[in-house]
């Protein structure tokens, strides 16, 4: 029924799913590591192929639809359009990078760990490709379950409470969204769950008002947007770093993606009505998170709060509803994923080499590990959106969009750039420069495979920073389609 492999979306679901299940039965840690790396590289290859075979001519290769539940008119429909491809590329890139970067980390019961990682990849890819609301909901939840188990099993000391909070939060959000989906389904033309029929039947403005919030809360929890963010720092801190990378690099993009794919086109009137509230929340969250990031002593928490600030900007830019903001979000989704994974890799390296993440206990690493320091500074500057790095283009476009919407939002949000510089440079100063202490004196510089993987990230940072056109072109259709729907409401 679902088994056809003549198209990319189906392959992208089946490949991680099947390899993930096989991984559970592997005996040794080394085998599990190699197997999952192989699987993730193959997935990357499939995404690469789908990028190559795009356009009208190959449209059949990039979509799929099987009848799933006849009685309620739901089909297992997946589509790879520009935005989907970009996020699938991010997901497919992230996993091999994560696997390689954490190659030396020893996990108890590694086969289960890597199996669950591949299953979460399957869920994430499904979310980014779903063209049917029920399928979307299905994968939305499925991406969560493996991550929950990963974080609770291999995480830090307070992992059980932290990840459970995360789980309950997202689960409440998704259930509310499910109610919204069911309501839309019953009102859609021909009672269908397909994205197209959802798009075609626009809910009346009175319904939109509350449906908007049912969906928005689900997505806001995932992103996370202030005041729904409280699960995030704990979850990031307590998860094993490989899982934190998945959470922050890819999983938060589920929320951003879902807002663009589902929320904006479905409820344009409500979006116009509530845009000030949402942008207001996002901007408040940006400043708030940046301020908290300044006083963090734990590297992981610092990166977590900086991530809230960045996501806040993306959310604000989406709701600015203009070309510039939307394009900025599109590339920033990809770039933020790359940058933050880079940051996590460095945090992981420091923690593994020195056994601590406390900024106050570190210092002077640059004297002993120059290569690590150089790469870190580049990634940190990219996180600051310095020109020539990838984040610059995205943030510039987003601030431009916000400026067009309302100058004052742009001014207040702009403060977060200054604050970001404060906490990032402070972190660089305290961790890498200075005289060092007995602990950091013992650090060894990074090995070859770590150099390679960080270089890949640095290359991506510069490539996307100097030449962002491919990304803009890739997402052009999606951006236009969504903006058209909102403007001709």
């Amino acid at each position: 029924m679902f088994a056809a492999f003549d198209n990319f979306p189906a392959l992208l679901i089946w490949l991680p799913l099947v390899t993930g299940i096989i991984c559970f039965f592997l005996k040794t840690e080394a085998a599990a590591k190699k197997w999952s790396l192989l699987s993730s590289v193959l997935t990357l290859g499939v995404v690469g192929a789908s990028l190559y075979f795009s356009g009208e001519k190959y449209s059949l290769l990039n979509q799929v639809s099987y009848i799933w539940l006849k009685g309620i008119n739901s089909s297992f429909a997946l589509i790879l359009d520009g935005m989907s491809k970009m996020l699938c590329l991010l997901t497919a890139l992230a996993f091999p990078v994560i696997f390689t970067a954490t190659w030396k980390h020893q996990y108890k019961r590694a086969n289960v760990f890597y199996g669950l990682m591949l299953l979460s990849q399957c869920g994430l890819l499904g979310v980014f490709m779903a063209a049917d609301a029920l399928v979307f909901y299905f994968f939305w939840e499925l991406a969560l379950i493996p991550v929950y188990f990963l974080a609770s099993q291999w995480g830090g000391e307070r992992r059980i409470q932290a990840t459970f909070k995360f789980f309950i939060y997202t689960f409440i959000g998704s259930l509310l969204m499910l109610v919204g989906i069911l309501y839309l389904y019953l009102n859609a033309s021909g009672e269908s769950f397909s994205l197209a029929s959802f798009y075609n039947s626009r809910a009346n403005p009175a319904d939109q008002k509350w449906l908007f919030w049912l969906f928005f809360i689900a997505f806001a929890i995932k992103m996370p947007i202030f005041p729904f963010h409280t699960w995030q720092p704990d979850a990031y801190e307590q998860s094993p770093t490989a899982v934190t990378m998945v959470l922050s690099g890819v999983m938060v993009k589920m929320g951003v993606y879902a807002v663009i794919r589902w929320l904006l086109p479905l409820f344009p009137e409500a979006v116009h009505k509530f845009d000030n509230i949402v942008i207001g929340l996002s901007v408040v969250g940006m400043i708030y998170a940046s301020c908290i990031a300044m006083v963090q002593d734990d590297l992981k928490r610092l990166v977590a709060y900086s991530s809230i600030a960045h996501i806040g900007l993306m959310c604000a830019a989406i709701f600015a509803n203009n070309q510039s903001g939307m394009q900025g979000v599109m590339i920033q989704m990809f770039n933020h994923g790359i940058n933050i994974i880079g940051l996590w890799i460095i945090v992981e390296l420091i923690e593994r080499k020195l056994g601590t993440r406390k900024i106050s206990e570190l210092g002077g690493i640059a004297n002993f590990a120059p290569a690590l320091s150089i790469l870190l500074v580049i990634v940190a500057l990219a996180n600051l959106a310095l020109p020539l790095t990838n984040a610059f283009i995205g943030e510039f476009l987003m601030f431009n969009g916000l400026y067009q919407f309302n100058v004052w939002y742009a001014v207040v949000a702009g403060l977060s750039i200054i604050l970001a510089a404060v906490y990032t440079l402070n972190m660089v100063k305290n961790v890498f420069y200075g005289s060092g202490n007995s602990l950091t004196a013992g650090i060894r510089d990074i090995s070859l495979n770590e150099k390679i993987i960080l270089s890949v990230i640095v290359v991506l940072i510069f490539a996307a920073g100097v030449f962002p056109k491919p990304f803009l072109d890739l997402t052009q259709d999606t951006t236009n389609m969504i903006l058209n729907r909102i403007i001709d409401k």
Partner: protein, 457 residues
């Protein structure tokens, strides 16, 4: 018809088997054969080849809905026998009698799933209930078991009285016992009819343990021997629901709007009370008792909505809930310690059991890829389709979120906490059946139409 006659006969066979075979293990095999026979007979009837042709004067009706429901019940019973049958031998000396009583319950269920007159409903409910009073007290030397039995019996007798009175009122108002001949809903309801309907609603709510008539449930479920709690909380509860929806659809369906609010209140109260109380339990057995109330709250949604989606959903819900709960109980029976701490570190010592238990718990929580998700999904869909009282849907999803808390406590104990080896002794058959149950849960979670298409023959 086949199922009614055969289950009654097989109950008698089981009683004699206790006299004929001294070996404690033998009745289990005879009972398993009996359920298989029931399945075959039921299936033959579904396929249009009934073995027995009895003229019931239109008092019973065997449509595909009832027969598919019977099939679900018999499959669940089969699982129940194969998983927990051996544990019945530990309850007392008269194993064959327990099986006989269970077959009488099945007979009652088959009547409840096919009644067309209130008399048959009453008979079915009574045939189903009386053996349960005995089963609840089957651990004779245990004071809690005695208490459970007595409590269940007294409360049950009370609700039976209410039901009879309701039936009498309806008969007085309409002059008939036939549900479809009552013609309620045309014109104004007189007070006699309204009283009758409310009384029936209360007595049925009691049988399915819906709030505020649920107070007996935790004590009875907790006090009864765990093997029989498993049976009462799953198969019997599902059967009571089929009677509930048949009654309200056939007899009172036309005046749906007049009692709908009452049903919504019952559903909301059941959901809130069941879920919130389950959160505070320290024993898994008691938690499951409250969880069964909470799940009943979801099933009441189908009677509240009363449309075709609701009926499909109820069958799916009955299957998903029963199989998952039977599975969890089967593992629980093997444990010595029923507290949450008793499950600590189970994943390390019994990885397979822990994994399967997790699947069942995820299903009860309604996570996608398990049958429980689609069950909840159909209920919500039915309630939204109903058009008004949207607040009930929001209450339901919030309660579903609460339920994650207590189901996941077990998962957390099994996987993320350290504990001693509970030293479970499980046979290969047990493991195989448990795996099979988990596979069914997942298959129904991928494609519920595999069950639901049978409803439309």
């Amino acid at each position: 018809m086949g199922a009614i006659i055969l289950s009654a006969v097989w109950g008698v066979v089981m009683m004699y088997s206790g006299i004929l075979f001294k070996n404690k293990a033998t009745p289990k095999y005879i009972a398993t054969a009996g359920v298989m026979l029931l399945l075959v007979t039921n299936w033959l009837e579904y396929a249009g080849l009934p073995i027995f042709n009895v003229d019931t004067k239109g008092m019973l009706e065997f449509n595909s809905f009832g027969l598919v429901f019977n099939t679900v019940i018999f499959i669940c019973t089969l699982f129940y026998f194969l998983l927990s049958g051996p544990d019945m031998e530990d309850v007392g000396d008269h194993v064959a009698e327990y099986f006989a009583l269970i077959f009488f319950v099945l007979c009652g269920i088959a009547i409840v799933s096919s009644f067309k007159t209130l008399l048959m409903l009453f008979l079915g409910i009574e045939i189903l209930s009386i053996p349960l009073y005995i089963l609840a007290g089957s651990d004779k030397r245990n004071l809690k078991s005695n208490e459970a039995s007595l409590k269940y019996f007294l409360m049950g007798a009370f609700s039976t009285g209410l039901m009879l009175m309701g039936i009498a009122f309806l008969y007085g108002a309409t002059g008939t016992f036939y549900t479809e001949a009552m013609n309620l809903g045309f014109g104004k309801l007189n007070s006699m009819m309204s009283i009758g309907i409310v009384l029936l609603m209360i007595s049925m709510a009691f049988k399915v343990s819906a709030a505020p008539f649920h107070f007996w449930t935790p004590d009875v479920y907790d006090g009864s021997p765990t093997v029989f709690t498993s049976f009462m909380a799953t198969i019997v509860k599902a059967a009571a629901f089929i009677g509930f929806i048949r009654l309200f659809e056939n007899a009172f369906g036309k005046m749906h709007e007049q009692w709908q609010l009452l049903m919504a209140v019952i559903a909301a109260a059941t959901l809130v009370i069941g879920n919130l109380t389950a959160v505070f339990q320290q024993s898994v057995k008691r938690m499951l008792a409250y969880s069964s109330i909470a799940q009943a709250g979801f099933m009441v949604l189908s009677i509240f909505a009363l449309n075709s989606v609701a009926k499909e959903g109820l069958v799916l819900y009955a299957a998903a809930y029963s199989i998952a709960t039977i599975g969890i109980f089967a593992v629980l029976i093997k444990m010595k310690d029923y507290s949450f701490e008793g499950f600590n570190g189970l994943a390390k010592h019994q990885p397979l059991l822990a994994l399967l238990n997790t699947i069942f718990l995820l299903s009860l929580a309604g996570i996608p890829l398990t049958a429980g998700f689609f069950a909840k999904y159909y209920m919500l869909l039915a309630a939204i389709k109903n058009g008004h009282m949207f607040w009930l849907v929001i209450v339901a999803v919030l309660c579903a979120a609460v339920s994650v808390y207590y189901y996941f406590r077990v998962i957390q104990a099994m996987y993320f906490k350290e504990g001693n080896d509970p030293g479970l002794k499980v046979s290969e058959t047990f493991k195989t059946m448990l795996v099979l149950a988990a596979v069914i849960i997942i298959l129904l979670g991928i494609h519920p139409d595999w069950l639901l298409t049978w409803l439309y023959n």
